[in-house]
Symmetry: C2
Subunit: 456 residues, 2 copies
């Protein structure tokens, strides 16, 4: 109830703002708008049409617009449109006023030519900082770090440090941690704003700082940075180059996005559909789901030709057709389960991961156990139903083998893909279950034709 009330108030605020804007009460409008949180300002901006947005751009300074853009979600197409609605000089100014990691994110998604135009229009110092960030891979620590930060020298007094923070706080994305570097720019310590506040004014930074700093290198994967920040409960982690020089920091807000995105992509992988955009437009939804379905349809056709190959057998024993979907379905389910576990296990950081050999042996045994237990169950069920325990044994044996194979496919395919450097999450659930249809049918009909004489 309470959240709904809150939402309604926000809606009302937006309605009022829109009226103020349309009736040209510009000064009141501007004052009330800037009174909102940056995030809400951004949500209002997004809710406008192109004319409204242009009007707002005229009204706000590049700095005010930049604060707002820092909170906008990363929808590439939208941001491109917004930039194109602005004068190039204005857009460039706004980008240089933003936190430079966010500006780099936006520019990375633009055409190289377009982003160069903006960079050329910016103050050179800002442009160079952003260019340096754009040069790291988007999924690495370097790609998500900011260089808008304050660092301190070890022989500074706490009083002078406070003066420096007061002076430069506006330029930094966060001042909750201050990193300490020596005169070679090597990272030698960290001190929190809380420690600075509590320390005596005449103490030296080096006497208060913590010397053991956990840091990351710019080329490591963003999910490993997320793991570090999560494990230690940090609000930020410093990034150092190969000479241990401080080059940036990754803050917790960027990490939350990383965790969300990775979860989304694992989930999308398992489902065989990109769930990033849950648009309710049927045509868009169709276009997103169809490619996988049609691709797998061809794999399914292969299974059909395989069954067709056994038409003589099927003609003689049409009872076999009764159990096709039971065997393929159950094996597919087992394959999906083991796929999910394997992908999740591979997402763990290296030191938490069991060794490759251990994983393989474990999955081989698990698949065998699951296969045998399920196979025995189905053997009894079919034997009782058809009063034919030899038929039951054929179905049970086929089921056990099919599950075992599907289970191994579900765990070994992502494992192999990971070792080859692909994202294991792209082996989707639908792919594994369609593949296991093929292997299950192959196993089933071969076992059946071997033992046919005994159960007919």
């Amino acid at each position: 109830m309470k959240t709904e009330e809150k939402e309604k108030t926000t809606d009302l605020d937006f309605e009022r703002l829109r009226q103020l804007m349309n009736t040209n009460k510009i000064q009141v409008f501007k004052k009330e708008l800037l009174n909102l949180h940056f995030y809400d300002q951004g949500q209002f901006f997004i809710s406008l049409d192109s004319t409204g947005r242009k009007k707002m751009t005229k009204l706000l300074s590049p700095k005010e617009m930049g604060d707002m853009f820092d909170t906008l979600p990363d929808e590439e197409q939208d941001t491109q449109d917004f930039l194109q609605e602005m004068e190039p000089e204005y857009a460039a100014n706004m980008l240089s006023e933003m936190y430079n990691d966010n500006a780099a994110d936006i520019l990375e998604h633009l055409d190289d030519k377009v982003s160069e135009v903006y960079l050329d229009l910016m103050p050179e110092r800002d442009a160079n900082k952003i260019r340096r960030l754009m040069h790291y891979g988007v999924d690495t620590a370097g790609g998500i770090m900011t260089t808008d930060m304050i660092s301190l020298k070890p022989d500074t007094t706490i009083m002078d440090a406070i003066a420096k923070i007061k002076r430069d706080a506006d330029l930094a994305e966060t001042v909750n941690y201050l990193y300490v570097t020596n005169y070679e720019r090597t990272l030698i310590g960290v001190i929190s704003l809380r420690e600075i506040l509590v320390a005596p004014a005449d103490a030296l930074v080096q006497d208060v700082m913590t010397e053991k700093v956990i840091s990351v290198h710019p080329e490591i994967d963003q999910s490993d940075v997320a793991q570090t920040i999560r494990d230690y409960g940090f609000l930020a982690v410093p990034v150092i180059d190969s000479q241990e020089r401080l080059i940036g920091m990754v803050t917790v807000d960027d990490i939350i996005e990383v965790i969300d995105d990775e979860a989304q992509s694992d989930y999308s992988g398992l489902a065989g559909v990109n769930v990033d955009d849950v648009s309710e437009m049927p045509l868009t939804a169709t276009m997103k789901r169809l490619p996988w379905l049609i691709t797998l349809l061809f794999l399914g056709m292969l299974t059909a030709t395989l069954i067709n190959h056994f038409d003589v057998l099927l003609n003689e024993a049409s009872i076999l057709a009764v159990f096709i979907s039971l065997i393929t379905g159950t094996a597919g389910n087992a394959g999906t389960q083991s796929l999910a576990v394997a992908v999740r296990r591979l997402a763990l950081s290296d030191d938490e991961q069991p060794s490759m050999m251990k994983m393989i042996i474990s999955e081989v045994i698990t698949g065998l156990l699951i296969g045998i237990l399920t196979g025995v169950t189905v053997m009894v069920l079919v034997g009782l139903w058809k009063q034919n325990f030899i038929l039951g044994a054929v179905i049970g044996l086929s089921m056990a083998t099919a599950i075992w194979v599907a289970n191994m496919a579900g765990s070994l395919i992502p494992l192999g893909m990971d070792k080859l450097g692909f994202d294991p999450a792209v082996a989707s659930g639908p792919f594994i279950s369609t593949l296991s249809d093929l292997t299950s049918v192959l196993i089933y009909f071969n076992i059946a034709s071997l033992l046919m004489s005994s159960f007919l």
Copy 2:
């Protein structure tokens, strides 16, 4: 490469620590251990056997042990074991030294009787705070909030505020935000540590603070709190009761865990297996995956009896058996996709969600489009292959209808469960695809028997 090097150093540290402990160089051991980050101390503690852990407990004060326990992951069984290895008084002291949200989390997972023992042994003030937290639902803002915080009064000077922060910083989980309350304890503002540092010493808190505070109520779902913190880029959000009095705050580190857990549970749901614990013990893994598999096996048996019901038809036209797995498999894939999209859509906060009617209409049309396009494709493929376009039409029509139905099941079942108050994520992918095996076979054989005379 670099991360591996880091890990190795940590391993070496642990080896060295273990040696120091075993050779009874107790003072060196204690010094080096406490030099580590709390998280690493905790990891070392976990890596020990029961004897080692007891030795460590003897060596560390309850406060030192509490700092370490604050970083331990939430594995219920382990934490219970650790507590039982301690003297009850020591354990109670340690719990009262921990951040009270973490202590409440641990106690909530214990037997009521056991947790009462610990609470009775604690200082009453701490016990009461923890009891109050335990009374909120574990998945709500109240369940994850902390009450270890500093609040300020509006007429305090910045200088006095700094003095208060210096004095109480140790008791608070974070001092990055200080919330301002009036003398009725009503939340009236927020001020960041950075703003305090930058403000003139003689200014009043009320002149520097931001008056528009985004807050949450204790009973709202933790995922909505996560959304708020994420959207606004906050490091914490205050929790207020129905009279707008400040009762606690939720910090970003707890939110990261919430986001991770929710993603995990959506993923587990889709896979039909709990991927929380990726243990490599085959027996444990089997026991976790088997219940779903066996349950679905019975649903699969229903499909088998259905096919059996059509045995006369199958005897006359064994060609029909060739396409069973193609139709059930493809429909199952479509169902899994729409399930994933539906679950994800339902996870959005209410104001981002399209209306129920809109979602249903959209899915009906999407399913129809996907069904028709896939059906036409398969009709052409089968027609060409078998040189029989009437057979192709039967398969295509069955496929289109089966996909349409599976698609609706995948989206409407979670939607219905959500409306009935269940977690939509428990409708697993394997369940939807096994259910769609049943409906697909029903559709396929009915269409085939209606049109049989024309294609044979």
